[in-house]
């Protein structure tokens, strides 16, 4: 039976006597602001949320099961479709994990290209996220148009090197697929140089906007304890004031060479989460400037890396990176065969929405949409494993 779209329930006080009515509604899976096919069963007292249950599985595409039945390299295009905004970082996380398992080295130039791609991905993800976030608050269209205008410019760069706008399938175990040319680097430099100006403009419009302040400041504050207990990662955790960034903790790739700061929030409310994205973009621009300046010449693939008939030695490995949404990890068990024995994804979106109920309780139903928007979920990543 399909779920009921709404249900009226009695509201009980401590002694069990009825003192009113509660309304249970089903938001989603077809809802313009749930960022995909996501459903929330919300129990409302008037306009206040008293209970919220996230229901996922509407986009369960058996990602992990497929990954266990195909070769290691064949999983690479599937990782594009996990978090379809950030295919480059997904590629990198998977490539990093397999390199750790097989002990492959990555040439210097490829490491630089990976950092450039990852930070460009962070820029376009955060820009479009802010567009959607403000869209959810009722600013229909305009900020999103600005955001997508900038996003298209970055997608052009991706398309030029990888051949695809969104599903790049660009990284390989032991390097990247094709080298970038000098003209591409010059164009990227130009884009990065102009990006600061776009951010200035965006911030002028939004930072002191009265509606944005009223809708975000003090709404759904998260304490450090709550954030850590729910094992949040990414901008959501840093907005709550916890200094944890996998780029700084693990220093994977060549991130130890770059000079950048990790912005931290104070209150963990929606405004902090918004500002966190803006500040992270500023830091990404710093990293991009350094990477584009220092990129050396050389090969982009480890000559020892084998693409076809790749069989790593038996063992298990967990590799992780800081994707724009948080810690993205892959856990692989190899039995020495051509395909992994176990293939598991630790998606940041899925783990970040586990705390959705705590964030929404006591808030109005209109705030639920904005809170969900601030978590930055992508359903391909949320529903990658078996539905619970």
């Amino acid at each position: 039976m399909p779920p009921k779209s709404f249900e009226v329930k009695p509201k009980l006080d401590e002694s069990g006597a009825s003192i009113g009515e509660l309304l249970e509604i089903s938001m989603g899976p077809h809802h313009p602001s749930t960022h995909g096919v996501f459903r929330m069963d919300v129990v409302l007292d008037g306009e206040k949320v008293v209970k919220l249950k996230p229901v996922c599985g509407y986009l369960h595409r058996n990602h992990e099961k497929i990954g266990e039945n195909i070769s290691y390299l064949a999983s690479m295009p599937y990782t594009d479709r996990l978090d379809y905004f950030c295919s480059m970082t997904n590629n990198w996380a998977y490539a990093l994990t397999i390199e750790k398992l097989a002990g492959l080295a990555v040439p210097e130039r490829a490491e630089y290209i990976r950092v450039i791609m990852a930070e460009l991905t962070r820029l376009q993800n955060h820009t479009s996220l802010i567009g959607f976030f403000v869209h959810d608050m009722g600013a229909l269209g305009t900020p999103l148009m600005y955001a997508f205008r900038e996003r298209e410019k970055i997608l052009d760069l991706f398309e030029e090197v990888s051949g695809a706008r969104m599903m790049c399938n660009y990284m390989r175990f032991g390097g990247v697929r094709v080298d970038v040319n000098d003209e591409w680097i010059a164009r990227t430099k130009q884009l990065v140089a102009n990006y600061g100006r776009f951010l200035d403009e965006f911030e002028t419009f939004l930072n002191q906007n009265e509606i944005l302040l009223a809708r975000t400041q003090g709404v759904s504050p998260l304490t450090k304890e709550q954030a850590v207990n729910a094992s949040l990662t990414g901008p959501l955790l840093r907005a709550a004031g916890v200094n944890y960034d996998v780029r700084k903790v693990d220093k994977y790739g060549i991130y130890s060479r770059f000079d950048f700061k990790v912005p931290l929030g104070e209150h963990g409310d929606l405004y902090d989460r918004y500002m966190m994205r803006v500040l992270e973009m500023r830091e990404s621009i710093k990293i991009l400037n350094q990477a584009l300046r220092d990129i050396p010449a050389g090969p982009v693939m480890d000559p020892k890396a084998k693409l076809r008939g790749f069989r790593p030695k038996p063992g298990e490995v967990y590799g992780r990176i800081e994707s724009p949404k948080g810690e993205l990890g892959f856990y692989i068990i190899s039995d020495g065969g051509p395909n992994p024995y176990r293939y598991r994804v630790r998606p940041p979106s899925f783990i970040n929405i586990t705390i959705l109920e705590d964030m929404c309780l006591g808030h109005r139903v209109a705030d639920v949409i904005v809170i969900l928007g601030s978590v930055d979920i992508v359903l391909g990543e949320v529903d990658r494993c078996q539905p619970i």
């Binding site: 399909p2 077809h30 995909g36 058996n62 148009m145 600005y146 997508f148």
Partner: protein, 204 residues
Amino acid sequence: MIEEGLKNELQKQGVYVTSLQELYNWGRANSVWPLTFGLACCAIEMMAASMSRFDLARFGAEVFRPSPRQADLMIVAGTVTKKMAPLVVRLYNQMPEPKYVIAMGACAISGGPFKQGYNVLKGIDRYLPVDVAIPGCPPRPEALIHAIMTLQEKIRNQKLTGPDRPRHLNAEIEGEYPVPAYGKHDLEPPKNPDVWQPPTMTRT
């Protein structure tokens, strides 16, 4: 029907002659309102098509309506899982006639890269009459624009009377499509035999 030559001659004099059918189809073809209905990756390209660079508004199709009651085009943008398929069909049933379906991307056409999965519907055409299919994973926004232009062409050539008139003008055809349910092993029924039959192979 009026002759083309006479029609052109009259137009030069400022007299426009047309048939009700042409006027009706002209109006409908140029104001297609799609349903805001994103399923997966392709939905992002669908959004990009309606945003700054590609500007779907040039084709009269930018008014994305969140409610199926106000929409007349369903763009099935993304993977339809077995959990989602009943809802897709129900949304389609809620749309007023005349209505159209674009299957956007490999997943909506056939299951795409996820076809081998146990939870993925192998093409939305098993339940809904698809008018235009766009291949690609995901198709570019230009491909979606092309699909909308193809659909407009189709609407312009529709007949209002006669045996090949559209469904909504035929009182004998039932308006709603059967909604599948999640059964013990699979969706029940696994297909709508009125719109889809498994291909038959004949050996010669």
